[in-house]
């Protein structure tokens, strides 16, 4: 990036917001996104692509009604037309909308200046040949691990972003960041038994950040070894029992079962959390936070410096020592709840409007060790490898996991096939009686879906609690 390159665009966005006559608020967001993706499957190239997607999203608030337009033509005239269209369609709603936006919450400080994520191994300096070679070699290593591996794939994807946000409330900020991810999937088969395992990582950062924890080939070995081992594993017996969850499972519960319930738009639609602010909803060992910074551990995939309303990020302590303390807000909902927003309004690409979204959502670590948890468990399971799942607005969730280890009398006895774990989110958090001192983010390869996709992360330490294990995957 060359200093000064951005000035013409910033000037253009400034000029736009100053012309938003009649609007109580106007926001312009230039967003350029580059995606590079390499996908090998069973020795063949499955997908290789480079995508450049850029444009400008314009949002205005007029008489309590939002108008949002986007255009990939960012010439002065096209932007002016897009602004006029946003004003025009917002005005169209004003005679037809019953519950108008009452106001936008004050912000401690609108973001200004240049914000560049610090990275180790700038992705632009890693040639595509290397990315292809690593992906190809890793897929081959997964397939060659054992004759029992019948199929394997490896995906490398990087998202490079540049944004400029200018609004009428003082934001003038430009942001650069990059989010690479790497996933290996191995399918083992023998007789009628099959087992599928995915291992991977997604971060905010560079090439060396992506592979700081494990080298690429390690993910191939991890995935294939687990898939082969699972072939001979028995099934979990369905029961309500003590479970120890790994950081990925903790992140999934924090995000899906709790996080969505406390997004203020869901709260206003009647989520189970709506009357619980200030109430005791979890064990006193539970402190659950959503943060735009990568707290506790670096490079969380949901890391952002500023949200898409131009609000600088601050951590939101959702549950503190078991008490529900905060919901997640954009400026509109923060006004309704008479609080301040903390940077949770996020838009996926330039043609998406900002919605209330999570960032890095995690349980704070405490004092226990995984050995303590095992030792003090007479009967239960250690569950590893979060897969996707479903959670309803009433907090009932069902998540799948890849592996279960039977625990008897304080010792791990047997590896069992993955299944699902279910329960009420608050019930499960109330049952938490041990919280580890370890910590990891482990949701960085996935995307949260809420009208738009979004890069988020989640994690925590190992925890011990009670839930129902079993059912079909």
């Amino acid at each position: 990036m060359k200093p000064g390159d951005e000035k013409p665009i910033i000037d253009r966005l400034y000029s736009l917001v100053s012309k938003s006559s009649g609007a109580s608020y106007a926001e312009t967001r230039y967003h350029c996104r580059i995606i590079n993706e390499v996908n090998f499957s069973n020795g063949e190239i499955e997908l290789m692509r480079n995508v450049s997607n850029s444009g400008c999203g314009i949002r205005v608030l007029i008489d309590g009604c939002w108008g949002f337009t986007s255009t990939s033509n960012i010439s002065t005239d096209a932007l002016k037309n897009s602004l006029n269209e946003a004003i025009s369609i917002a005005k169209l709603l004003s005679g037809n909308k019953k519950k108008k936006v009452q106001g936008l919450a004050e912000v401690n400080q609108m973001a200004r200046g240049l914000m560049q994520a610090k990275v180790k191994g700038n992705l632009e300096n890693i040639d595509i040949e290397q990315k292809v070679k690593v992906t190809k070699d890793t897929e081959r290593a997964a397939r060659n691990y054992s004759e029992k591996i019948k199929s394997a794939s490896c995906v490398y994807r990087e998202i490079l972003d540049h944004k400029i946000i200018v609004n009428t409330d003082g934001a003038e900020v430009q942001l650069y960041d990059s989010k690479p991810e790497f996933v290996v999937t191995a399918i083992a088969a023998e007789g009628n038994e099959t087992a599928t395992i995915s291992e991977g990582i997604g971060v905010t950062g560079g090439w060396n950040d992506l592979f700081a924890k494990h080298a690429p080939l390690d993910y191939a070995i991890l995935a294939s070894e687990k898939a082969v081992n699972l072939l001979e594993a028995n099934h979990v017996s369905g029961e309500s029992t003590t479970i120890i969850l790994d950081p990925g499972m903790v992140g999934l519960i924090a995000h899906e079962a709790i996080g969505h319930m406390v997004e203020a738009d869901f709260v206003l639609s009647g989520s189970v959390a709506k009357d619980k602010l200030g109430q005791h909803v979890a064990s006193e060992l539970v402190t659950l936070t959503d943060s735009g910074e990568s707290k506790t551990s670096p490079n969380g995939a949901g890391t952002i410096a500023v949200d898409d309303e131009g609000v600088g990020v601050e951590p939101v302590v959702i549950i503190e020592n078991g008490y529900l303390k905060s919901f997640l807000h954009n400026r509109e909902s923060a006004f309704v709840f008479d609080t301040r927003p903390a940077g949770n309004a996020r838009a996926y690409e330039y043609d998406d409007d900002p919605l209330i979204r999570m960032r890095n959502t995690f349980l704070e670590p405490k004092r226990d060790t995984i050995d303590d948890m095992l030792r003090e468990t007479k009967h239960g399971y250690l569950l590893k490898g979060a897969r996707n799942g479903q959670a309803d607005a009433n907090g009932e969730f069902m998540f799948a996991f890849q592996e279960a280890y039977l625990i008897e009398k304080g010792e791990i006895k047997e590896l069992l096939k993955g299944a699902s774990v279910s329960g009420g989110a608050f019930d499960v958090l109330r049952s938490v009686d041990m919280v580890g001192k370890d910590f990891a983010y482990d949701m960085g390869t996935g995307y949260c879906g809420k009208i738009q996709p979004m890069k988020v992360d989640g994690g925590g330490p190992h925890i011990r609690c009670t839930a129902t294990v079993g059912g079909l995957q």
Partner: protein, 467 residues
């Protein structure tokens, strides 16, 4: 060592002095530059769209949106290696840079003898009835009017009706395919779609959710009132559900439930890409029975009643009517150029995907042939069973196993609808169920990418939740 994250590729200053090309000129420039820069063949697929949408939320109009978007996908072959790049600002310098990137990707991609770009064949006739010139005059104010009319119709049907979300969307799009092998096609399409999701609410009860959707290519065929009434009627009828004990019996799927439970498994299994990867249950089943003889399925992008209609596919191959299952016998798979090269077949015109991806085999409009029974007859013949309007759960499209919960269901006994039901688990296998298809209705419904009748299956397992 930590360093500032610099991204030279994102050079915003370039946007300030650009002249944008038309979609056709952008495609032509891409192909010409690709060949000039060393590609032996090249293809450009471009889309321009203008879309306007009104969002409904919590019984109110929430927001108005409008988008003007361009997108260009460039595929090149260098030898037998393929590269792909996409750009959405149709400026010459950016297009050339995208072409150079595509060629660079091709040069690091392993060669594959089945890669090719299709040649121009006979002249392709463009479909009529997918573009309504009146759609040009359909203004954002008309979107607001339609969304409001749909909302008011549903709410005034019964004061217990509550709308969680919905939308009304209008779109005009132009798509163009141009390649170095003589293909040069473009056409305009107009699209309207609308939906409602919500429930009925009383003092002491919230009904199951219902979701209704409507779509058309023509302004005169927009019918938000019927959609709103169907939605309102459904959620009111869901009130007062009762528990039903576990049993094995018949399952009557609405067209919408068919899309959730069955359509994806069939679409996956007839996709030649999945067949070639041995990930299709239909792999060895050409000219063999895959369902009861009541089922006939076509993939037909030339059927203008559904929104998946267009004259040519993502590679510029003419769309056609593809017979898939005839009276229960599997007759063929769907192909794009790459998979057809592998099997020594002709492409069936099923290259799909947006300009952000290289072409990939996709279904267009799935048409299940209407049967000979009236819907009311199908219900009256049920000894003991469930009418299913929404399915919430998972379907494994590879092996066909499904498990989930009946949402918006009715219990039927001795041919009579007894009551709406509380959640009931259903589990089984789609491919087994297809062999137990016992009825197909005369009535069909057009959904955005399908035209489907009601379908009845026997011997399905229903399990009551613990209570």
């Amino acid at each position: 060592m930590e360093e500032d994250h610099t991204l030279d590729v994102l050079r915003p200053s370039e946007v300030c002095n650009e002249t944008l090309l038309s979609l056709f000129d952008a495609c032509r420039t891409a192909v010409k530059e690709a060949v000039k820069n060393g590609a032996n063949d090249a293809e450009a697929y471009g889309v321009n769209s203008k879309e306007s949408e009104v969002i409904i939320e919590n019984n109110d109009l929430k927001q108005s949106k409008s988008h003007k978007i361009s997108s260009l996908g460039i595929r090149v072959l260098v030898g037998r290696s393929q590269g792909f790049s996409s750009v959405n600002i149709l400026e010459k310098g950016r297009i050339i840079r995208s072409v150079v990137l595509a060629i660079k990707l091709a040069k690091v991609s392993p060669p594959d003898n089945f890669n090719s770009i299709p040649h121009k064949t006979a002249k392709i006739g463009l479909l009529k009835k997918i573009y309504d010139k009146d759609a040009v005059g359909f203004e954002p104010a008309d979107n607001v009017r339609m969304a409001k009319e749909m909302l008011l119709t549903a709410r005034s049907y019964d004061n217990r009706v509550s709308i969680d979300s919905g939308n009304f969307t209008s779109a005009l799009l132009t798509h163009t395919v141009l390649n170095s092998c003589g293909v040069n096609l473009t056409e305009n399409i107009s699209l309207f779609s609308w939906s409602l999701m919500g429930m009925a609410v009383t003092v002491d009860e919230v009904s199951n959710f219902d979701f209704q959707i409507g779509s058309t290519h023509y302004v005169k065929d927009i019918d938000v009132i019927s959609t709103a009434k169907q939605f309102a009627n459904a959620v009111i009828n869901y009130l007062g559900p009762r528990n039903v004990d576990s049993f094995r019996g018949e399952l009557l799927l609405s067209p919408s439930a068919f899309t959730e439970l069955v359509q994806e498994a069939i679409a996956h299994s007839i996709n030649s890409n999945n067949v070639q990867k041995r990930a299709s249950k239909f792999k060895e089943f050409i000219n063999r029975r895959v369902s009861s003889d009541l089922l006939s399925v076509e993939d037909d992008a030339t059927n203008v009643e559904a929104l998946g209609a267009s004259s040519f596919d993502r590679e510029g191959v003419a769309h056609q009517r593809n017979l898939i299952i005839q009276k229960g016998i599997l007759k063929g798979f769907i192909y794009d150029t790459y998979t057809s090269n592998k099997d020594g077949m002709k492409s069936t015109g099923n290259a799909g995907g947006s300009p952000k991806y290289p072409p990939i085999v996709s279904t267009t409009n799935m048409i299940v042939s209407a049967g000979s029974s009236k819907l009311e007859t199908l219900v009256s013949e049920i000894q003991k069973g469930i009418i299913l309007n929404r399915f919430s759960g998972t379907v494994n499209p590879v092996d066909g196993d499904f498990s989930g919960v009946v949402k918006g269901g009715y219990y039927v006994k001795n041919g009579n609808i007894i009551c709406p039901i509380k959640e009931l688990m259903i589990a089984g296998n789609i491919f087994d169920a297809l062999k137990n298809l016992t009825g197909v209705s005369k009535e069909t419904k057009s959904l955005p990418d399908s035209i489907l009748p009601h379908t009845r299956f026997s011997n399905i397992s229903f399990t009551a939740s613990k209570r």
